[in-house]
């Protein structure tokens, strides 16, 4: 399916957000996820089914002030 990952078009197999996180190479990385602007906790990624056009955000720790 075609989704947006961090605002870049990506083709993934899915079908769940947990699958997508794995397929995108994040595996065991410390990241947080959101779909269409709503936070999806790690424990709910497996039950969050993606579809074409979903906008997925994958965020990680970064320097901040």
């Amino acid at each position: 399916m075609k989704i947006l990952v961090n605002n870049a078009a990506r083709e993934i197999a899915g079908p769940s957000l947990a699958d997508a996180v794995e397929q995108l190479g994040f595996g065991n990385a410390v990241v947080a996820t959101a779909v269409d602007g709503d936070f999806v906790p790690a424990r709910k990624r497996a039950s969050m089914m993606l579809r074409d056009g979903h906008a997925v955000e994958v965020l990680a720790p970064m320097q901040g002030g």
Binding site: A29, G37, L59, P61, Q63, G65
Partner: protein
């Protein structure tokens, strides 16, 4: 001093952005004595995984983290970012920024109050980046904030305390709420001035990160903040418009 029941020895909260290298960041944190550092969340690349190395570095420092919602311009962005930060960093502390203007990076105080209420109701312990406006401060406290963080000057400007009167009034208006000057500090003397007003702590980043020697500047800020705190506790003398001789004049020679 404590924030939400967490007692802290250092009154300096240090940002982690803009240092010449991770090693210099680590050294600056150590030299500053800060027990709290601010961090953020950004988009991660599955290939580069830049955030993972940063997170390892911070964890090795053994300090508490205060995640921010920097760059968020809407309540929804800020709330979602806060929720994501809570999961990633494992803390309910959040430095809440809802930015209202691109040039000044000043807070959108209306969005700030709304987001603070939503987050406090969801169990967050909110550190709102606000202005020195007293009514906004009251609304934030009503929304559940137990710390207020007024700006000294626009973020990254290094201008110091732009509104001494307003900051002094805020201290007087909220005697029991921990107050942190957040943003705009450029020099240790400015941080000391904030502490002399009775502020509980200072949060800064650029002044250290962009100094020629960040670790040395971090140490200077740590000392200035401690000096300012001690000066506040020592109760400074009142300012006068006219001179008052400090050397006794009684018994002065050559006077009739």
């Amino acid at each position: 001093m404590d924030f939400y029941g967490v007692a802290l020895g250092s009154r300096l909260l240090l940002g982690t952005a803009g240092y010449p290298s991770p090693a210099i960041l680590a050294e600056a944190v150590r030299r500053s004595g800060a027990e709290v550092v601010t961090v953020s969340l950004r988009r991660e690349s599955g290939a580069e995984r830049a955030g993972q190395g940063f997170w390892s570095l911070i964890r090795e420092l053994g300090v508490r983290v205060l995640p921010n919602t920097a760059g968020c311009h809407t309540v929804r962005e800020a709330v979602t970012t806060a929720q994501m930060a809570r999961e990633v960093f494992g803390t309910s502390w959040i430095k809440l920024e809802v930015i209202g203007n691109h040039d000044t990076l000043q807070p959108d105080v209306f969005g700030l109050v709304e987001a603070a209420g939503l987050l406090a109701a969801d169990g967050f312990e909110v550190f709102p980046y606000t202005t020195e406006d007293l009514v906004v401060g009251e609304r934030l406290v009503e929304a559940g904030c137990r710390v207020l963080m007024p700006w000294g000057a626009p973020i990254g400007s290094g201008r110091g305390l732009n509104n001494l009167y307003g900051l002094r009034a805020m201290r007087a208006h909220f005697p029991d709420i921990p107050l942190v000057v957040d943003a705009g500090i450029g020099l240790p003397s400015q941080a000391a001035a904030a502490m002399e007003l009775g502020y509980d702590a200072v949060l800064l980043n650029t002044a250290v990160a962009r100094a020629g020697d960040p670790a040395l500047m971090a140490a200077a800020f740590g000392q200035a903040i401690e000096a300012g705190r001690q000066a506040y506790l020592a109760e400074p003398m009142p300012m006068r418009d006219m001179a008052v001789p400090s050397t006794p004049v009684l018994g002065l020679a050559f006077r009739g």
